[in-house]
């Protein structure tokens, strides 16, 4: 991973982490990416807790140091404590997470795998817990989290070591 960013930040100081990053350099896409992030956090058909679980699973797999260090306040207020966020690891299946939360992680892993894909067994299990619109909502969230975190990794400039946790206020979404 490059220690030096391959593209400079936009130079704006709006307080929006997307707009003020290198993504702000692309005028054609930045407004829609900001809108997408907002819509995912505020209009999704699944809870902020499930969204944060998916986001953290993605951050871990992509190894986005920035993404791993962030916690969204909206999910914390929804009940995802730090102790529960720490359960999103290799041993999540044996954790105290709820069945729906474990299935959300399994869906994230199916998306993040190579090759990506959902097995018939996982499809059946998801079908028992989630409606098709809820599954679609989780897939849209995965898309959004995955492409922005991979963008951050590709632009580079990330520290090697973990960063201290930062609680991102709802106004940032």
């Amino acid at each position: 991973m490059s220690a030096k960013p391959r593209a400079s930040v936009s130079g704006t100081r709006t307080g929006n982490p997307i707009r003020d990053s290198a993504l702000g350099r692309v005028a054609e896409t930045v407004d829609e990416i900001v809108t997408l992030n907002h819509e995912v956090w505020h209009q999704s058909l699944v809870s902020p807790t499930l969204l944060e679980i998916i986001r953290l699973r993605n951050a871990r797999t992509v190894n986005c140091v920035f993404c791993k260090a962030v916690r969204y306040e909206i999910a914390r207020e929804d009940g995802l404590t730090e102790a529960r966020a720490q359960m999103i690891d290799d041993h999540y299946r044996a954790s105290a997470l709820a069945e729906r939360e474990k299935l959300a992680i399994a869906l994230a892993d199916a998306y993040l795998g190579f090759p990506a894909g959902v097995t018939p067994e996982l499809a059946r299990r998801l079908d028992t817990e989630f409606s098709p619109p809820e599954i679609a909502a989780m897939l849209v969230a995965l898309l959004a989290f995955n492409f922005t975190s991979r963008t951050a990794v590709s632009i580079g400039g990330m520290p090697e070591e973990p960063l201290p946790l930062t609680l991102l206020p709802m106004t940032a979404t």
Binding site: L23, R25, T29, N63, V118, T119, V140
Partner: protein, 160 residues
């Protein structure tokens, strides 16, 4: 027709306004000043090849009227495009970047990024990175949806 990255939005629309936003972003990708639709289509096919996704490879892209030339398709699907004398330096730089991105974004080198930026600028480089993330993500979601709807055929066995 099996679901692909190209017709994904109709299947995701039940998710409401977040899906509508993602659909708008998808359309924007094909109308910007940095990477031509034809070159972006070569990127999509490169990622589809890396995913070994025959359904995705076979899909026709309405954003690229007339599609790629047979020679372009052949080069991309053979994994030889990034080194081909038949393509421009810009095309080769973008496809070389795409190949590495598709395998592991952490393996991208500063030299690969600089080569792309030398042709389309720093903003163009950031755009390309965004576009590759969208393309790759959409291929992944399409594969998941095919499994969820039971339309993946032997693909479901492949990921078991």
């Amino acid at each position: 027709m099996p679901i692909t990255s190209l017709d994904l939005d109709a299947h995701l629309s039940v998710a409401g306004t977040p899906a509508a936003s993602f659909a708008r972003l998808w359309r924007i990708l094909w109308k910007q000043p940095y990477v031509s639709p034809g070159l972006l289509e070569m990127c999509r096919l490169t990622l589809a090849r890396l995913h070994r996704d025959v359904t995705e490879i076979a899909a026709e892209n309405a954003f690229v009227p007339g599609g790629l030339t047979p020679e372009q398709r052949k080069l991309v699907l053979a994994g030889k495009a990034a080194r081909s004398e038949q393509l421009s330096n810009l095309e080769k730089a973008v496809l070389d970047f795409t190949e590495t991105y598709g395998l592991d974004p952490q393996s991208l080198t500063d030299a690969q990024a600089a080569e792309v930026a030398s042709h389309i600028g720093e903003s163009g480089l950031v755009f390309l990175i965004e576009a590759l993330g969208c393309l790759d993500g959409r291929i992944r979601v399409a594969r998941c949806l095919r499994g969820l709807t039971g339309s993946g055929g032997s693909e479901a066995e492949h990921v078991r």
